[in-house]
Every structure is written in C-alpha cells, then in structure tokens.
Symmetry: D3
Subunit: 244 residues, 6 copies
C-alpha cells in the first residue's frame, strides 16, 4: 500500500519530521511518501496562508493519482483543501485534524485541542462543526508559538505544550489531547508519557485510518458531494489543473 503524506507548507525540515512520525506508525507493508509543495507559505497560520497552500496540495495529489497512490494524508491541522482533494482523488483523503478528533473520541468522552494562537479558534471551530465534534471538545488552548517555533526550539515547544495540556486536563476536564499543528507531531509521544492521558498528533492517526480504509477497500464516495470536478476551462497559470 502506498500512502502519500502531504505537508501543505513549503518547509522541508517539517516535511522530514512529519515523515518520521508517519513511518514510525505505519505497517511494514505500507510505503509512506511524504512531500511538500514547492510554491506557497513556509507555514500556515491563517486563512490567507491557506489560500496559497491549496494549489500546491492539489498538485501533489495530481502527481499521486498518476503514480497510483492508494490514499492521501493532508498533514496540517487546518485540514486545508480536504474537500477539494476528495473531489479530485480516487482513494481516501484524510486530514490530520479529523483523524485526531475521530480517534480521540473512541477512547475519551471529552478532549481538548492544544493549538498555536488564539485566532486558530475560528478555523478549529469550523472543523469541530464539520466533523460533529463540538460536544466532544471541552477547550481549545493555545501555546502562543508559531508553527516554525516547533522546528527551531522543540524543547520550548514541548514545555509549552505540556503546560497547556496539563491545564486542559486539570481545569477543563479533558481526558485526551489533540495537537493543533503537524509541527507538534514529533513531540506527541514524549508529551503523552508526561501527561498520562492519550495524545493524538493527527499524523499517526491519519496514516492508520488510511491503512484501515484501504484494507477495507473503501474509497471516497463519488455518488454526490465528492464527485470528480466536471470538465471545464481554467485560464492562465492554472491551465494545467483543468479537470478533464
């Protein structure tokens, strides 16, 4: 089985660390290929950044379809381009936010999300509604660190994550933690040991869900909402992306 993991931003160090998290949890017979777009922001921290990440994600998925990948993981906790990718790809496409939330909800009645900045609560709120997780999430806490701070100073990142996660458990009655940024993935195991409650980084869960769906022979339903884009003209620099 071949799974493509896409880091939607253009920071290769982060792609590498996501790759390691994905490989660690994958089965021996699963081949993980982790990529990032060449064009776009070095990190995604708002709707504007996201707007410039989408075409790159879809470019990688187009390559994936040509190369016969079985499933895709979008490794940014805003789940950017998830529905566009589901329309385009045949195999399942899993976002790491949805993966962490669904898996957390199987072992915990209530979880908290620990994210980067207070403004993230807007997009996270939209995702919680989309996935039906509004009643499961008891708080969204933030570290006040940027995406790339977790690359530059992982120790500081872990420290902040630990503080906010412990607050979530003790003050908000969370029983599990979902991490709000793919850059935090590499810290999940250490955080979990420290906290004593399950920590879901999203990347690992997305890979396992992708494996499970492929094993079960399930692909994105093309019956209605995720039908392939209809053939039409795209102009200018996006000409090459025209749906056929």
């Amino acid at each position: 089985m071949k799974i493509m993991v896409i880091n939607p931003n253009t920071t290769e160090e982060m792609t590498q660390s996501i790759h390691e998290t994905a490989c660690k949890c994958a089965r021996l017979d699963t081949k993980i290929h982790t990529v990032n777009p060449k064009d776009g922001p070095v990190s995604i921290e708002n709707y504007y950044d996201e707007a410039f990440a989408l075409t790159g994600i879809l470019k990688e998925i187009r390559k994936g379809e040509q190369e016969g990948f079985d499933a895709y993981v979008i490794a940014c906790a805003n789940d950017p381009g998830l529905y566009a990718a589901r329309e385009f790809a045949r195999g399942p496409v899993i976002g790491i936010a949805e993966a962490s939330m669904h898996m957390a909800s199987l072992v915990a009645a209530k979880f908290s999300i620990v994210s980067l900045f207070p403004r993230d609560r807007l997009i996270i709120g939209e995702l919680l509604h989309r996935y039906g997780m509004e009643n499961k999430c008891v708080s969204i806490r933030t570290c006040n660190l940027a995406v790339l701070d977790f690359e530059k100073d992982p120790d500081k990142g872990l420290e902040q994550l630990a503080i906010e996660s412990r607050n979530a458990v003790e003050k908000d009655s969370a029983e599990a933690i979902c991490l709000g940024c793919a850059g935090m993935s590499k810290l999940a195991n250490e955080l979990e040991k420290d906290l004593g409650v399950p920590v879901f980084d999203g990347v690992a869960e997305a890979v396992k869900l992708a494996e499970a769906l492929v094993d079960l022979g399930k692909r994105t339903s093309k019956a209605l909402y995720f039908e392939a884009p209809t053939k039409k003209e795209y102009k200018g620099i996006y000409k090459e992306y025209e749906p056929k």
Copy 2:
C-alpha cells in the same frame, strides 16, 4: 494482537457469521476471538432486550481482561454497554455503530443508516447525538425484518437491504450506507457491489479501528469519565461482578 468480538445476543449462528466478517478484514497477525453471552435474549431489538444483554457483555469482557485481550468490539448496532465496558476494560472498546459512522464520515459527506424497524430510530437518534453524527446522517431507513430474519433468510434480507439502500441513495442523497444490525454484516460486500456506494457494516470497521488504536498504543483514557468503577458491594446474583 488479540481482539475479542462480542456478539451481545445469545444466537450462536450469528456469532459465527460475525466471526467470519471480523476474520476476513483482520490482519494476519491479529487474533480474533468471537463470543456471545450464555444468558440473555436471542436478539436485541429494543431497550428491554438490551437491559438483559448488558451483564453478559460485561462477563465476556471480564474474561477478556483476565486473558489479556488488547481490544474489544461490541457487535450489535445499538452499541449496548459501550460506556460500561470502557469503564471496566483497559484496552479500547469499539461499538460497531460508532465504527461504521466514523469511518463512513471519512469517505462520504452524508450517509444513511439502514436498520430493522421504525422504532430503532429512537436508539439510533441517541447514538447519532452521542457520536456527533446528526448532521452526517440524512436518513434512517428500515427493512421491517427482525434480527434473526437475516439468519433465516439472507436472500430476503439482502433484497430488502438493497431496496432501502437504493432509496437512501436516490431519494435521500446518501453517499454511503451504514448497516443497522450486526446480522447484516455478512451481506455488506454483496450490497456494496450492487449499490456502487461504500457500505459500512460496522464489524469490519470496528476491527480495523481496534487494530489501529492498539498499534498506536492508545487505550481508553482513565482520567475521568471512564475511570474504573470504584470498589463496592454488589448483592445477590451479581456478587461476582463487584468492582475490586
């Protein structure tokens, strides 16, 4: 990895067919052990039946804990005793209703549930709320067949399932089907081929989710809501179930 699949009713033929579904999707290194209680109803079709199935489910899980099982699947689409089992067991416990709904929501924006009788809509409604799936489920359709009718006359069962599933796709805009009874599991593949949209029987999805959680080292969080039952006296015939 050892997974115990519990058919909550006392019909052994059904336990056997659930076992086959579970084994077919399990990985080579997963050992599936499928059981049913000795005491209780031959099928579960209302809250009253369910009340007499719970102690049997918990008895099997107690055995499982003694024998070192890694995870449990409760193979009845009412997910009876799920929260009680989560309190008692250490490894993850997955209900087949929640498994089918969560997995369906990863490949379809909207799904329908095809169940047995109109009265099932009450318990299914409670489960949809519990799992956050109220917005994903566009209809609950019913076959007007009893649980054991699917054992006695699978062809009739498949026919009815196909009619209602097709109605769900065509009239209710469902993109995927979740089956509302473990007894329908054996018909899922044939139904899926026939319909052309993904069909989730629940048993297969629960096994895959259990495998994934065990792989990831995730157990039920004991931090708050699913803490082990506190030690106390149980009287009479339930003496042996006393939490220690």
Copy 3:
C-alpha cells in the same frame, strides 16, 4: 391510585428514606409502595454499576404489572432503565432526573444540577440532551461525596450540598437547584429553606407527575417507540424475563 417507587440500588436504608420523601408529597388517596432489587450494586455511580441494576428494576416493574400498579417512579438520578421500563409497563414510568428538570423548568429559566462526582457530567449530559434541557441547565456542580455518604453522614452531605448550591446560584446564575442523587432527597426541604431558591429532589416531583398523568388517564404511548417488547426467547438466567 397505586404508585411503585423503585430505588434501583440494593441499599434498604436508602429505600426507606426515599419512601418517606415520596409519602410526604403524595396525596392521601395515593398508595406509595417503595422497593429495591435484591440483586445488584449497593449504589449506582457509573455506567458499570447501572448495567447491574437494570434487571432488578425490570423485575420490580414486572411484579408491579402483575399487582396492578398505576404508575412507576425510578428513583435514581441517572434514570436507569427508563426506556426499557416504558416499553414493558403500561402505566407511566417517570425518572427522577426528568421529573426534577421538567418541574424546575416551569418555575425557573435556568437551573443547576448538584451531583456527586465530576464523572457524573457524562451521564447527566446525555440526560439533558434526551429531555431537551441543555439550554436550561447552567452548570453541573459536584459534592465529591458518594451515594452512601449521604446515608452515613447526612449533615456533611447537607453542608456540601449547600456550598455547591450556593455557588450555583451566585456564580452560575442558577435560579433553582436539581439534586443529582436520590440519596439527597431527604435534605431537599432543609436545603431549600437555607438557599431561598426552589430545590427539586426529583422523587417528590416524579410522584406528583405520576399522580397527574394517572388522573388524566395518560399512559405511555405504545404507538411506536415504546411498543411492548416482541415475544422472543431469552436464554439462561434471564429465561423468566422473556417477553410473551
């Protein structure tokens, strides 16, 4: 009119104190019969305990049906077995949680529930949804006392209840208090005098609602969701409970 009040746990002292609460509010022409199962936990404090209380509740109701009771009250604030009992019994069955919430909502726009332990918030959350009371309940506060602590040391119980109830009124803007355990019932009047806002213990309200429904000639509707369980085989120790 004959009303059966069922204490779902096996602690007779508690049954006695519930009986007193029920009798105090009942009309002169209402005969209150208060019972508890012989089998099962001495108190109900989680889903596991509840699983071993259900068959005992239904056994008492079966006796009640044979003896011609007009209505039933399930006197545990988790409302265990309520829907199973509604299926089985002909007369109305009232849970004390639903009774306290509905009645509180008639004299207060917002109420709080004062319960035992933080973990109770899971089951209470499910009940609030079931009864449509999510918008009415402004907080669930907990005393950190066990069910039987209210038998052993009622003064301590009243003290804790008063502290948390006052917090609910002052900090959470509650206008009324619903008690989260039948064992607190006997303290309701004293608490109410002390607080100056209405306190609903559930037992008294359930008895009055049962009286009202019987007066009005209303029984549980058997048209669909609470239809009597269909005839089927029950195996082993539950043979005697087979629906006929």
Copy 4:
C-alpha cells in the same frame, strides 16, 4: 387551592368551555376560576393579536394576586405573556403549550402538534426552542380552521383534528398529539378515543402541573430572570399597572 385560568382572548363562550375542561380534571379541593380580559381580540392568531391580549392577561393576574390565587394557567397555545406573568405573580404560572409538551414528553418519545394555520409554525417554533422540545416534535400540522371555528362548528373541528392527527401518527411517526389551540380542548377526549394515542390539550395538563407545584410548595423563582418588575413610572392609560 385556588387556580386562576385565563383565556387571553375576549370570547366568553370559549372561556366557558375552557372552564369546563379545567374543572373536569381538577381535584375536588381545587377551586378553578376562569376569566377573560374585557379588552382585546376575540381570538389570537398572530403576533399582532397577541400584542393586544397581553395587558388584559396581566390585569387578570393582578386581580388574582390581590385575591390570593395560588397559581395561574394561561389558556392560549401561544403562551402569550407567560414570562411577564411570571415576573409579576408569586405563585407558578403555566402556559398550556408548555404544559402539553412537557407532559407529552413523559409518555411519548415524539409528538406532533396540530394547530390552526401554517403561519402558526413560526410562534410554535419559538416555543419549541424555549421549552427544549425541538427534538421531541416531529411535525406541526394545521387544520386550516380559525380559533372561533371550533366554537361555531365543533364537529367540523373534530373532523379536521382527527384527519391531521391521524396523518401525524401515520406519516410523521408521532406517538402523541398536542393540541395547538385552547379552543380544541373540549374535543381532546373524543379525539383521543378515536386515535388510540394520548392527546394533550394543554388546559388539563396545565391545571395538573399547577396543582402539583402548589402541593410541592414551589413558586416561580425570583432569584434572577423572573424577579418582580422594578418600581417605575408608567404613563397614560397604563398608569395603573406601574410596578410598585
């Protein structure tokens, strides 16, 4: 115990028929006094009519407070002036819409409301939200008869009610019927016999709930939302209603 039942419109024949319904269900020791305002619309069928009924309702309640009534029933299924009356009165005030919905929800998982005209769905929708009954109500059906048509031609009224109620049971899976107009109250018993599912007219249920609350010594909580109106000047024709 003295209960004042207020017909909010100025049609005395209807007041008389509401009085009969109220008396029939009241206990022997309950004194029912049924009144209607002298000023205002002969029937209430929209928000405009309602605006001219409120002062009359409050005038009657003011008299009631002076004469020592224990509780009040507002006998119009829009529950007009309910919160204003709760602020003003000391004893409980019950609306017939809320009474019918709460009581129906104790014996039926799902009910329908049968009302007058399609436009009623707006105000009924607001009431369903206010009382937390949105999930319990499966349909609002309408007879296309005006309030006073039920006075003029009760047979025609019963016929239409029966048609729509039967539709609610058969097509919408309702298990109980709540009547959407006090003018229908007198037809409730006959309708119930005919339909075979419980019918709640609201007037009878409100009287029983008022009796129960008075028995339990519960009055409207004055802790916050229903505190008495603060003293202030009212000008012109409403001078006499000034809160003191």
Copy 5:
C-alpha cells in the same frame, strides 16, 4: 425616503437622543421621524414592561402607515413587537438588536453584547436564537445601570460601558461590541474610539439597513408568516386597533 424610528418607551429625552443618532448616520435624502408612545413605561427592562409598550409601538406604526412611511426602526434592544409590526406594516421593520448583530457579524467573527442587568440575558438569549447569532456572541456583559441612568449620567454610563466592553475584548475574545440598550447609542462613537474595535449601537445600523432595503425595493414578505392580521373584532379599549 421616510423612516420612522420608534422609541418604545415614553421618555422623550431618550427619543431625542435616539433621533440624533439616527439623523447623524442617515443619508441626506432620508427623512427621519422619531417618536415615542404616549402610553406605557418610561423604560423597558423586563417582559412586564415590554407588555405595556407593545400597543404604543403599534399605534405609532399605524400612524406611519397612514402617513406613507417607507420603513420603521424599533429602537429598543429587546426588539419588542418586531414580529407584530412586521405583520401590520408594509415596508420593512428593523429591530435595533437584530441590526447591530447582523452588521457586527459582517466585520467580526465574534462579538459581545454589553447590556444593563444580568436578567437581560434571558431575552437576549431568545433574540440570539431568533437571529441565528448564538455562535457569534461570546458573552453578554452587564453594566448594572438602568436605562434612564444613561440619560441622567452619561459619563458614568460611558465609564461602565468602557469597562465591560474592554473586559469583553480582553477576557472573552470579542472583536466587536453590540450595545444592549438604545439609551447607550449616543455613547457609541466615543466608546469605539476608546476601545479600538467596532461598536454597534443598533440605531445607526437599523437606519442604514432600512435605507438599503428601501433602495432595493424590498418589503416584508407577506407570503406566510408576516401576512397581515386577518380581520376580526377587538373589544373594549383596543377596538380601534381591529385589523380590517
């Protein structure tokens, strides 16, 4: 274009200050006519007060219809009589609470409402539901000042508003403030300058929305819910308001 602004209470100083706010934002070709009823409370601070304000509002609107007004603004932040007025008037009728909320939601993801007293949260909660703004409003904060305190001591009013608005921004993550009383309107500009986030007083927004709707030729839809009241008899002092 002629817009009638109705101050629902009988305090003329307040009418004057509302008039100034309305005129300041109106276009040159918009004629603002601001009125208040002669009968009723000098301020509206609960449901009881509101009940005595409705007939006066409708009296003014009746005059407005005779004099050919194009639109109406109800200048009290409880939006009293809004739906009754929509039924009666032909042109659009805008409440200042709805105006401030809708406009705030166009420039801010989340807003807070700063109102008078804690009890206001009940009516505001109902309005938030009615307008679909429950997810947009992060807090309702209160100044503990009465309506007329803002007339008597505007400086004190501004000070309290500033304190609570700043709390809303800093503690509740509000990005905009909606004022909870028409009497606060005149302070909006100064408050906005001070706070640095948009402040919506409601009066100004309602005038601009009324202008926009009139420009677009949109009137209240009379197709169903706001159809004109049907002809019927009104008795006593309300005779003159009979719908024809």
Copy 6:
C-alpha cells in the same frame, strides 16, 4: 466611495453582467469597479474549482488596497476566500451568499436558496452554519444548470429558476428566495415580479451592505480572528503575495 466587486471566476461576460447589477443598485456617489482574476476556472462549481480561484481573488484585493478601495464584494455564492480577504483587506469584505441571507432574514422568517446542482448543498450547508442561518433556510433547491448556462441561455435559466422558486414557496413554505449563483443576479428582478415574494440575488445586497458599513465607518475588526496575516516567507510562484 469606491467599492470593488470581484467576480471570482475568469468569465468576463459574467463580470460584465455582475457589474450591471451592482451599478443599478449603487448610490450615485458610489463608484463600482468590477473585476475578475486572469488565472483560474471559468466558473466555480465545487471545492476543487474554488481552490484555483482564491489566489486570483486575493490578487485583486491586493490591487484594491493599493488603489484605496473602501470595501469589497466577493461575487460568487460560495463566498470563496471571504475570511482570507477579511484578514488581508482593511475595509469591509462582503460575500454575496452572506449578504443575501442576512438581508432576506430581515423581511422573511424563512427563505429558500435556489442553486445550481445537488452537490452545492454541501458548501451551502457550511455557509448556513457559518452565518447562523440554518433555522431560516427551509430548503435548498437546484436548477440542474451550470454557472455558464445562465450566460448562454438566460431564458432557460429564468424558467428553471421560476419553477424551483415557486416550488420553494408553495411546497417548502419559503417567503423569500436567495439565489445561489452570481450568474443568476441579472434575472432577480424579473423573477421577483413573477413570484410575488422578495428575491435576493446577493450582489445587490452586498453592495448595499458595503455602502452602509462604509457610511458607518465600520471596517473589519482586526482585534483577533481577522488580524492581518503575519509577515512570513512565501516560496515559488506565490512569493509576491508574502505578507509584509
């Protein structure tokens, strides 16, 4: 006042027709500048198309900011890029879906949306939730015509719109219609005349709301969720869009 109207797709005929709609409703002193991106799809009919429209929208807005525009309208009924644009621009940014829904809700209790294809219900459902309009929208009906069909054959488009709008009014109890595609805007007036209920095309309403907000001096709040994107590196072809 200068308002930029952005047609997010690359079809200039459509831009022209949107321009005409916008100009017709704008005030004399409002300067409307209507543009479309040079790069991207000729029409937007799914999430994939939308992904290739976002950068073009933001390019136009960047130009607008340089040229001192006061406000922006995004003229596609999916409201693509709305939140990204709000982060980037200083003046208000209005989507035509939100504009039509908010304005419709001021003159109608319930509206329907008439859109293109059944799959649109997914994105429309997300918008309804985002704007709090889930309770206002009684149906989403579809014409089964593509965006550009409304350019090629407006008569056919009007005919289909009229059929579905009339169905919405008659079968779904809609009181107003919101159009689900900017390409339908030019048909709104004729449709409205034909139907007899208000029709909201979104473009006209967005222009009027933009005018109103600019008049009131309200810009997007930059306090939290729509703060300007933080300075960071963008790689490759998107280098020029780097936030400074």
